[in-house]
């Protein structure tokens, strides 16, 4: 009981900051509405990019459009939620260049936790809604069986997918300590990773399978679990059963993310302020 109160006291500063950030975004209702609408449009346009291809062909990489909806839905829902809670780590280079990161070192809390809790982008909820809708329609129409496999694998894959995308943001942030103005380099695997995760991984070349199937485990966030739920065969190098290993891949992503973060924080020598 005493432990629980202690934990609550420790979490209080984070809760206070997050609540204030959430309030701040809703303080200007028009601006917030425009943000939500544009975020919704982002999700819809991303879906349209895939839909356009399916106006030309009926199946891509062994999947029909409603089966791709399942992949797109899982990937975009989990990415948007990770972006909502971890996406602002992208602003780290701004802090580094301005030398304002030093202030974070002065507070008696871990720097990574401070940064993660320094903001929450509520507008991403709209994009997550597009992902959730695609997932719902995909589940309903793609012929995924409602059995024990789906009931266990779907929540497992969603949680692991969220964790994996969140880890990518941490991973990228750790590398920013070295790159400073080369943040586009990490965009290649964070936003490129999101793009990869919405694709049927069966169309990838072998180098892409190594990069986005294993090293940055994107195929495991949506494609492989979807293949398992649909009872489809996997593809070369990416067998369907690998979908069950999603938590292991999420753990790998966090291991790499935290290692890069530690490495980066130790490398940082202050802004000279």
């Amino acid at each position: 009981m005493a432990e629980l109160t202690g934990l609550r006291a420790e979490l209080r500063p984070y809760r206070a900051v997050l609540a204030s950030r959430a309030r701040a975004q809703r303080a200007y209702p028009t601006s917030f509405a425009i943000d939500m609408a544009s975020s919704l449009l982002v999700g819809l346009v991303e879906l349209a990019e895939i839909w356009v291809l399916f106006t030309n062909v009926t199946s891509l990489g062994g999947m029909r459009f409603n089966q791709i909806l399942l992949v797109f839905g899982m990937a975009d829902l989990t990415f948007s939620l990770a972006d909502l809670s971890f996406g602002h780590l992208d602003t780290l280079p701004t802090f580094l260049r301005a030398g304002t990161l030093d202030a974070f070192y002065l507070r008696p809390q871990p720097i990574l936790l401070q940064l993660i809790c320094s903001d929450v982008s509520l507008r991403r909820l709209a994009r997550a809604a597009v992902g959730a809708a695609a997932l719902g329609i995909g589940l309903d129409t793609s012929g995924a069986a409602w059995n024990l496999t789906t009931a266990t694998l779907l929540p497992l894959a969603l949680l692991s997918g969220y964790a994996t995308f969140a880890a990518l943001f941490v991973w990228a942030a750790g590398l920013q300590f070295f790159l400073l103005d080369g943040s586009e380099m990490t965009n290649a695997f964070v936003y490129g990773g999101r793009y990869a995760a919405t694709q049927p991984a069966s169309v990838w070349s072998r180098p892409l399978k190594l990069a986005f199937g294993f090293f940055f485990p994107m195929a495991v966030t949506a494609y492989l679990p979807a293949v398992t739920m649909l009872g489809l065969p996997g593809s070369d190098w990416l067998p369907a059963w690998l979908g069950w290993c999603a938590p292991a891949f999420a753990a790998w992503a966090w291991l790499m993310g935290l290692a890069c973060w530690r490495w980066g924080v130790r490398h940082y020598q202050g802004g000279g302020g």
Partner: protein, 268 residues
């Protein structure tokens, strides 16, 4: 007249040099271009193979050309709608720009064109080269397409700059242009043909796209340079770009003059 031209030429050169100072950023851009390019190749090749090897005039070879040319143009074309000018209009610093003895629109376009042309060196050409090495591309043999292609590429850059200029000066009336900027970001990528070439769009969507300036910035230069559709088509696309540029430049001039009268700088 010659003195005026020299001023804008100097601004163009300054833009070129400014961008050349950030080499690591250029390398980062190249890595991102290559990654997205390989993913685009994977999904678009799969589409063509699923359609039986030919799709609306595209084979895998010409699709590869499309992918790598579009990736190469990424750093040169403004895809996110963000500009320094928009910030200067918002915080009133644009008043200082108005004091200078140059035309605001022409100066902004000259400076932006210089920066965009530089990005073709560390980002554009290597993207196309890496694509050619890793996947292979088909380029036309007739030099006409390279000549027209170079013209079309520069026109595309200026059309894109003239379009984002309109967003920036819209700030004279609406102050916060972030909503417009995000709309631009979505439309310029999707309707401009960054993800999927326009030829693969359903008919109604293709018509909608050609009614906007976005294909003039990206899709048309790619089509001209890759020689798709022959020399007649290439000339027609360049004319379409010129028409869009004239229209956008005229609206930009008019909005700048009207906005200048509305500008109210607060504080002293």
């Amino acid at each position: 007249m010659r003195a005026t031209a020299r001023v804008y030429w100097r601004l163009l050169a300054a833009g070129f040099r400014r961008r050349s100072a950030y080499r690591l950023a250029a390398l980062g851009g190249l890595v991102a271009n290559l990654t997205f390019g390989l993913l685009k190749v994977a999904i678009l090749f799969a589409t063509i193979r699923a359609a039986g090897g030919h799709l609306h005039g595209y084979t895998t070879a010409s699709m590869s050309t499309y992918v790598w040319l579009s990736q190469g143009m990424l750093g040169a074309i403004n895809m996110d709608g963000r500009t320094d000018l928009a910030l200067r209009v918002k915080d009133g610093q644009v008043a200082v720009d108005f004091l200078r003895p140059v035309d605001l629109q022409a100066a902004t376009l000259a400076d932006g064109t210089g920066a965009a042309l530089f990005s073709l060196l560390p980002r554009g050409l290597p993207s196309v080269l890496l694509g050619a090495l890793t996947v292979g591309i088909a380029m036309p043999t007739n030099p006409v397409f390279y000549l027209l292609g170079a013209v079309s590429m520069v026109l595309g850059i200026v059309v894109s700059l003239a379009t984002v200029y309109l967003i920036a000066v819209a700030g004279f009336w609406i102050v916060e242009t972030r909503g417009l900027q995000i709309l631009y970001m979505l439309a310029s990528g999707f309707l401009g043909g960054l993800y999927v070439p326009l030829a693969l769009f359903p008919h109604w969507l293709r018509i909608t796209a050609t009614a906007t300036p976005f294909p003039s910035a990206m899709m048309y230069p790619i089509d001209v340079l890759s020689g798709l559709g022959g020399a007649g088509n290439a000339a027609r696309l360049v004319l379409a770009q010129l028409a869009w540029l004239a229209g956008l430049a005229a609206v930009g001039q008019w909005l700048t003059r009207a906005g200048r009268r509305r500008l109210e700088v607060q504080g002293g």
